[in-house]
């Protein structure tokens, strides 16, 4: 209880003080009242997402509402009209702030939710898992590789948490048969969250940080679904193989054979066929935008319409969607909007002499910072806070151009967020695996730290290769 009060005092007290100190204290020349408020709100968001005195999505809603009141053109009169002649700063149109709830990024994710919901409801996920696992036989190390590949593939389209829950549910009865001294148990329990976290990186809808990155990859920097997969899939596969070997090395298996007994068969009714077909067509459309011209966002709306009009996703199903995830992302978009539109981002970036630093060093520190931060708070919140700053930085760091510019910087930092899996609290998949009572925090940390470092190195390698082949425009 006392901890709760202290947390709340820190989270709400510090931003409150920031609102009242004289603007000169920030030593940013020409800082307007609105910009000062954005600094306070940004601090509020950062503190609340780290310490979580209120749920993460509630923080998002809170800052959006505070923005509407404090820095929108229809905000509280006394706050937005200047009384002593000094301009308050650039206000943001209220409609633009409200529009973050229906931003293309949110709708892209909504499309992903519909696909995942339909797939789960019509047992496409379980049946695919069963069929795909068969070729891996019954040798435990092979079975684990199969589990990891399938987890990774599913987490490209479903939430990492739902994928982990599904795969662990398959594993739990089998793990109970392991001898208590067999470390292979730990390997299996860890393989699922690791693969889910890694797999989420492979598509723009795989995990929320990717979607947030798409927000800043617009205009010339736009990356299509297919392009995203083309560069991230090889990286994901490489990292999966490395993690697999790491798990086998640290937690050798004694068990000689393992049989996953999965029952069920593919549903063969009209609606199930519609689900299969829509899933396949959506995926194909995502990968072939260069032929038909519809971008990822437009394609994502197709399953939404199909599943709604065929009652595959019903009114009741709609209520089970993770609106909290969508609103958490919306908060990040609003923060980015506020930073950019008020001119604060520009001011900060020009004020701090980043030009004097080596651009590669800036990228390195930003990605390491993202990785460390995301271990202690939600990956999505990390991306929410860092990517708007990274986007602003990228435009001003002219020295970055030869290395891939804004696209390279954003992708590197985004991927770093998804690599955070050291602690049980780092991601919900980790928490689920830890909850089984098989994995110790130490085991999770060893694998998490090594995968994080190897992941960073391979990410650098990937953007280097992409730059060499002139992928970045």
């Amino acid at each position: 209880m006392i901890i709760r009060i202290i947390k709340s005092l820190i989270c709400f007290g510090i931003p409150f003080i920031l609102l009242w100190v004289p603007p000169e204290a920030f030593s940013i020349p020409g800082l307007t009242a609105v910009e000062q408020r954005v600094i306070a709100l940004f601090t509020l968001a950062a503190l609340c997402w780290v310490l979580e005195p209120i749920p993460a999505y509630a923080t998002s809603l809170l800052i959006i509402v505070l923005m509407l009141v404090m820095i929108s053109d229809k905000g509280l009169t006394w706050l937005i009209v200047s009384h002593n002649g000094d301009p308050v700063g650039t206000l943001i149109p209220f409609a633009d702030l409200m529009a973050v709830f229906a931003s293309p990024i949110i709708l892209l994710f909504l499309g992903g939710f519909f696909l995942a919901l339909a797939a789960t409801k019509y047992r496409l996920d379980q049946n695919l898992a069963r069929v795909l696992l068969k070729p891996f036989g019954s040798k435990p190390s092979r079975v684990m590789l199969g589990i990891m590949l399938i987890t990774a593939i599913f987490s490209m389209f479903m939430s990492n948490t739902a994928t982990t829950a599904m795969m662990l549910a398959i594993l739990v009865p089998v793990l109970a048969l392991f001898e208590t001294t067999d470390k292979g148990k730990v390997a299996f329990a860890l393989s699922v969250p690791v693969a889910a976290n890694i797999g989420g990186r492979a598509t723009p809808i795989g995990t929320p940080p990717n979607a947030i990155a798409m927000k800043y990859l617009t205009g010339d920097d736009y990356i299509s679904f297919g392009e995203w997969m083309a560069f991230s899939l090889p990286l994901v596969l490489l990292l999966l193989m490395i993690s697999w070997m790491l798990l086998l090395f640290f937690f050798p298996m004694k068990n000689k054979s393992l049989n996953l007994d999965m029952k069920g068969k593919f549903l063969k009714n009209r609606k199930a066929y519609i689900v299969y077909a829509t899933f396949a067509i959506t995926l194909i459309l995502w990968l072939t935008d260069f032929i038909h011209g519809m971008n990822s966002f437009v394609v994502a709306m197709i399953p939404v319409a199909v599943f709604s009009s065929t009652s595959i996703v019903t009114k009741e199903d709609l209520k089970t969607l993770s609106w909290d995830v969508l609103w958490l992302i919306a908060g990040g978009i609003a923060l980015g909007l506020a930073l950019e539109r008020t001119g604060l981002a520009q001011k900060l970036v020009t004020h701090i002499p980043f030009e004097t630093f080596s651009p590669l060093l800036v990228v390195f520190f930003a990605s390491v910072f993202a990785l460390v931060m995301a271990n202690f708070m939600s990956h999505t919140a990390t991306a929410n806070l860092l990517l708007p700053i990274v986007a602003a930085l990228a435009t001003s760091l002219t020295g970055l151009q030869p290395y891939g510019g804004e696209q390279m910087f954003i992708i590197t930092v985004t991927f770093s967020c998804s690599l955070a899996m050291v602690l049980p609290i780092s991601t919900p998949p980790n928490a689920l695996a830890y909850g089984l009572g098989i994995v110790k925090t130490k085991d999770m940390a060893i694998i998490g730290i090594i995968v994080g470092i190897v992941g960073l190195i391979t990410t650098y390698l990937m953007v280097y290769i992409l730059n060499v082949i002139n992928f970045f425009s």
Binding site: P55, S159, T161, A165, L168, T320, A431, L432, G435, L436
Partner: protein, 160 residues
């Protein structure tokens, strides 16, 4: 933060103490209360409700003076305020007819026969609490040590 309650009811003090002792591992997350009669339980439940706290689970004996366990659980089921509360009937003396009423009218979630095994009771309580925590929309990560992992995973995989 609203407190979450587990109430155990049995008219025999020593049995009641054993039940409460068996469940002590849940004390980190839930307030466990012992009542010797259904009437006492109702008084406590009203208090809990007044305070804005939540009743997560009731573990009740059946054969008790004044009011039977099945009668009590039926009243609890019919009271809309406790729609999320999970109900365990823990008894060795319920007749066939009582059992039918317990299922049809009181909609009990689990029937445990006396004498019970500690592990079984804890396992069933964990399952019940998992459903309660998820249906009440609480943050399951906070209670994860008190929940049944298989049930939790099964429920979570339905969410997108």
């Amino acid at each position: 933060m609203a407190k979450l309650y587990i109430i155990c009811i049995d008219d025999q003090r020593e049995v009641l103490n054993t039940v409460v002792k068996d469940l002590e591992s849940f004390e980190n997350f839930f307030v466990i209360e012992a009542c010797e009669s259904a009437i006492e339980a109702w008084e406590l439940i009203e208090e809990i409700d007044d305070e804005g706290d939540q009743l997560a689970l009731v573990v009740s004996d059946h054969v008790m003076p004044d009011k039977s366990g099945v009668q009590f659980l039926t009243e609890l089921y019919e009271d809309g305020r406790f729609a999320l509360t999970r109900k365990i009937l823990l008894t060795g003396l319920a007749t066939h007819k009582d059992t039918i009423t317990a299922i049809n009218k009181a909609k009990i979630d689990t029937y445990i026969e006396k004498p019970w095994k500690k592990e079984q009771l804890i396992g069933d309580v964990k399952k019940m609490l998992t459903f309660f925590v998820l249906e009440a929309g609480l943050n399951y990560e906070k209670y994860i040590d008190a929940l049944d992992q298989q049930t939790l995973l099964g429920e979570l995989r339905k969410k997108v």
